[in-house]
């Protein structure tokens, strides 16, 4: 029974965890590997300690809803604007000086959350089985019969749903439903997330798919001859080239909102933006200069090719889910 005695002691020790000094509490839906360096840089520069709770964006958004006005969090960092929209009611309005750093399309209309980095939707394709002539010119063209059985789709993925929401805003519900039905008719290979999509294309199960721009980079870093590449749809302003964001808000319940805003300002500084654009493989949202990228898609090109969609208009997730369900993709 020594085992039990030892654990009883351990339990007693754990119950007495000490309370520590002031610090910022950040709920991060973004992974530690990606964002820990920039958080450390913030602490090094300002001396403000940041305690991070890492988790899935959805889990943390739901946790915040459950915590309500008792939340210990000062900041919430989400993978997508939809999650920020879901908890926007708990955020305080950000100061004008902070909001001005990004274009209006990349922040909440009421100024409660702000984008910290951008990610482009791109077309990932097999370098072995996709010829230049076959490439679709627009997102709409993916419903063409020539892609039957060759398309990979991650219908539960947040970015996919955001993309459908944008399609609804731009083309209307009926056109969006028709597009979804066309995709369904092409019998896509259903995958669970963006990584699985790239993997499926690499493994030869599918030939193309629409994904976020920073996933492929990881595969290419691990294996330079990985048989997948990505590009933008060649039509300027096509909805396929949508720009999405990761973003952040400050909780109204925070007792350190000044420090929390300082953290956001740091992420939007040139140093912060260069970090996202360079190390993480995303895009800056402030127009800051970024280092050369691994893939051949430049920021200028992305900005030029992207459609103009206000992220505030794509928050109707229930409606989007209903549409995707109606099309039989969920």
């Amino acid at each position: 029974m020594r085992f039990f005695r030892t654990t009883a002691l351990a339990l007693a020790a754990l119950a007495a965890t000490p309370v520590t000094a002031q610090h910022l509490t950040l709920y991060s839906g973004r992974g530690e590997t990606l964002v820990a360096p920039i958080i450390e840089a913030f602490t090094a520069e300002t001396g403000i300690d940041v305690r991070v709770r890492y988790g899935g964006t959805a889990e943390l958004a739901i946790l915040l809803q459950e915590e309500g006005d008792r939340s210990p969090a000062d900041l919430f960092w989400a993978q997508d604007a939809a999650a920020l929209g879901a908890v926007a009611g708990m955020f305080m309005p950000l100061p004008e000086a902070t909001l001005e750093k990004v274009p209006a399309a990349y922040r909440d209309t009421e100024g409660r959350w702000i984008a910290t980095s951008g990610r482009g939707r791109v077309l990932a394709y097999s370098t072995e089985r996709m010829s230049e002539e076959e490439m679709p010119a627009t997102l709409a063209e993916l419903t063409d019969p020539r892609f039957r059985g060759r398309l990979a789709l991650a219908p539960t993925n947040g970015s996919f749903l955001a993309h459908v929401a944008a399609l609804r805003v731009v083309e209307g519900d009926e056109a969006a439903l028709e597009w979804l039905r066309g995709i369904r008719a092409n019998r896509p290979v259903m995958v669970s997330n963006n990584t699985a999509m790239i993997q499926a294309i690499g493994d030869g199960e599918a030939d193309l798919g629409v994904t976020n721009n920073y996933y492929l980079v990881r595969f290419q870093t691990a294996a330079p001859d990985f048989p997948v590449n990505q590009r933008l749809f060649p039509t300027e302003g096509d909805i396929g080239n949508l720009l999405l964001v990761a973003g952040m808000g400050v909780l109204t319940t925070s007792d350190q909102s000044a420090e929390a805003v300082a953290f956001i300002d740091f992420l939007l500084s040139d140093e912060g933006q260069a970090f996202f654009g360079g190390d993480v493989g995303e895009f800056p949202v402030t127009g800051a200069e970024v280092p050369e990228r691994l893939d051949e898609i430049s920021l200028d090109e992305v900005v030029r090719m992207a459609p103009e969609v206000d992220l505030n208009t794509i928050s109707d997730l229930e409606g989007t889910l209903a549409l995707v369900r109606e099309a039989g993709l969920l």
Partner: protein
């Protein structure tokens, strides 16, 4: 059971102190288990019923329920085919190297679901592991059989551990009597051995079945749409806890129906020796060269598929990036995992003991109720379970919120069912007459429990705590919500990497979960001489 019957025919006698105490503890645990249900009802009634109805009456929902049933059946069948022969080989034959097999048969539990799924998927495809290393291409495992295979390969140890504890406690003189009475070996097995293994089989099936019903991760990677998918989508894509609460309630109804059937089947069973005379310890079947080869072949195949495969894939990923720089972080992370998993295992076993004693020694409507409630924590989807405790600790015990203590308690409650199975199975096979003798010799009920019952059922207690430990090492949704902020156990660190598609960076953490679980399981098995019997 004997005691309870004596009490029943001797009116006016007080209830045994042990029964009163255990009932009180059991009711306390039951009440804690009901908190999440209350919470889910609270949330569910905030939802718009018409939308719920629309969601549920789609033909697709029916298809998903059927898929869930098919998957559960497949996983239970495959797990039995793997675990039953393996437990028999280890417990009842002289197979050389059986202790190693025993150890290796438990470890697949430590394999994170996504690793198992990726390992199987990695076998196929032109960029898959097999093709990269050996130049072989196989069809991609997916759909029903892919999901069945992936889940079975890391769930079968639940059944194996239950069965091994049952084999170890099985009184062989019964089988000898059957043989002496002219039964063929097959008849001995089907008429004597198998019925005695039923409690263990059912206990194992129950936890595997409940796990399968609630699993999302491996199933999603295998592209098989089950009911849990609907819940997952409702909170992950719509950030909606109200409709997710409805769906979770439905999942719980399905799960509790399974629990109810299991406990009905268990009712009225009596497997322990009642007569005088000494029970015979296990006697091992001597295997000939062919039997030995077959035994090794089978065990080898199981170990290769369930452990060799994921380890090979992890090794392959780890070979792509140096491990040196992250070693200090890995060790810290391991320490944090341990500081939760060990107390959780101990607490779960401590909670399971009184509940199991009530079920086996003092059957009554109350003990049946307590035993069913004990499964609620395991049947409720982990995210809903954790949210309930977020809600209650914020309302009633702010100081407890996001502390180690709460995390450990919630783990113990969520995984109580895992510890309960082996302990209950062991108790069924422990002789009440021995306890009666202890009582006759002047020991009080608690002293009897501590000095006679507990040592007898030790293998079951050990097996139960190992199960909880291993699952607590890799658990995610509860840790996300309830761990102290800044606390980064192996599983959370691993998730942080996989969620961004960094499988290579996640590999060392997944490997560490398996390796450290292996160390712990090895340590416990070493100190548990009876389990080796």
């Amino acid at each position: 059971m004997a005691l309870a019957e004596i009490r029943a025919i001797l009116p006016g006698r007080r209830m045994p102190a042990a029964r009163v105490l255990f009932s009180a503890i059991g009711l306390g645990i039951g009440a804690l288990m009901l908190l999440p249900l209350y919470y889910l009802l609270l949330r569910a009634f905030q939802a718009d019923f018409a939308t719920v109805w629309q969601l549920l009456t789609r033909p697709r929902t029916g298809q998903m329920l059927l898929n869930t049933a098919a998957l559960t059946a497949g996983v239970l069948a495959l797990c039995t085919v793997i675990a039953l022969p393996l437990a028999w080989l280890v417990s009842r034959t002289d197979l050389p190297g059986r202790r190693v097999v025993n150890f290796l048969a438990v470890l697949p539990l430590a394999v994170p679901g996504y690793v198992m799924a990726f390992a199987l998927i990695g076998l196929s495809g032109n960029f898959g592991f097999l093709n990269q290393v050996f130049g072989v291409t196989l069809p991609r495992p997916q759909g029903w059989w892919g999901a069945t295979l992936a889940l079975s390969l890391y769930c079968f140890p639940y059944l194996y551990l239950n069965l091994r504890a049952a084999f170890a406690g099985l009184d062989q003189s019964l089988e000898e009597s059957a043989r002496a009475l002219g039964c063929t070996p097959r008849e001995v097995f089907t008429r004597v051995t198998l019925p005695h293994l039923m409690p263990a089989l059912m206990a194992g099936w129950l936890v595997i079945g409940l796990y399968t019903i609630g699993d999302f991760g491996a199933v999603a990677l295998m592209r098989f749409e089950v009911f849990s998918y609907v819940i997952y989508l409702q909170y992950s894509a719509a950030f909606d806890r109200l409709y997710a609460a409805w769906l979770a309630l439905i999942l719980i109804v399905i799960a509790l129906t399974v629990v109810w059937w299991e406990s009905r089947l268990r009712q009225g069973v009596r497997y322990a020796r009642t007569g005088s005379g000494s029970g015979a310890g296990p006697r091992r079947v001597r295997l000939g060269p062919v039997g030995r080869a077959l035994g090794w072949g089978f065990a080898g195949l199981v170990v290769l598929a369930s452990l060799g495969l994921p380890v090979a894939v992890l090794t392959f990923w780890m070979s792509l990036a140096p491990i040196g720089p992250i070693l200090p972080a890995l060790v810290t992370s391991f320490g944090q995992s341990l500081s939760v998993a060990v107390p959780s295992a101990a607490l779960a076993a401590a909670m399971a003991l009184p509940v199991a004693v009530l079920a086996v020694r003092y059957p009554s409507p109350l003990s049946t109720l307590i035993n069913r409630l004990a499964f609620v924590g395991y049947a409720v989807p982990a995210l809903a379970f954790a949210l309930a405790f977020v809600f209650f600790s914020l309302q009633g015990a702010r100081w407890l919120y996001q502390t180690h203590l709460l995390l450990v308690t919630v783990y113990a409650l969520a995984f109580l069912a895992l510890a309960l199975g082996p302990i209950r199975s062991a108790l069924y096979l422990a002789r009440p007459s021995l306890e009666d003798s202890a009582r006759a010799l002047g020991h009080g009920p608690l002293s009897t429990f501590w000095r006679v019952t507990l040592p007898t059922i030790r293998p079951g207690v050990v097996a139960g705590s190992v199960l909880v430990f291993v699952i607590a090492m890799k658990e995610l949704p509860i840790a996300f919500l309830l761990a102290p902020t800044g606390f980064r156990p192996l599983a959370i660190t691993m998730f942080s990497r996989t969620s961004e598609g960094m499988l290579v960076e996640a590999a060392p953490y997944a490997a560490a979960i398996i390796a450290f679980s292996a160390l712990f399981v090895g340590f416990v098995l070493r100190h548990d001489r009876k389990a080796e019997g």
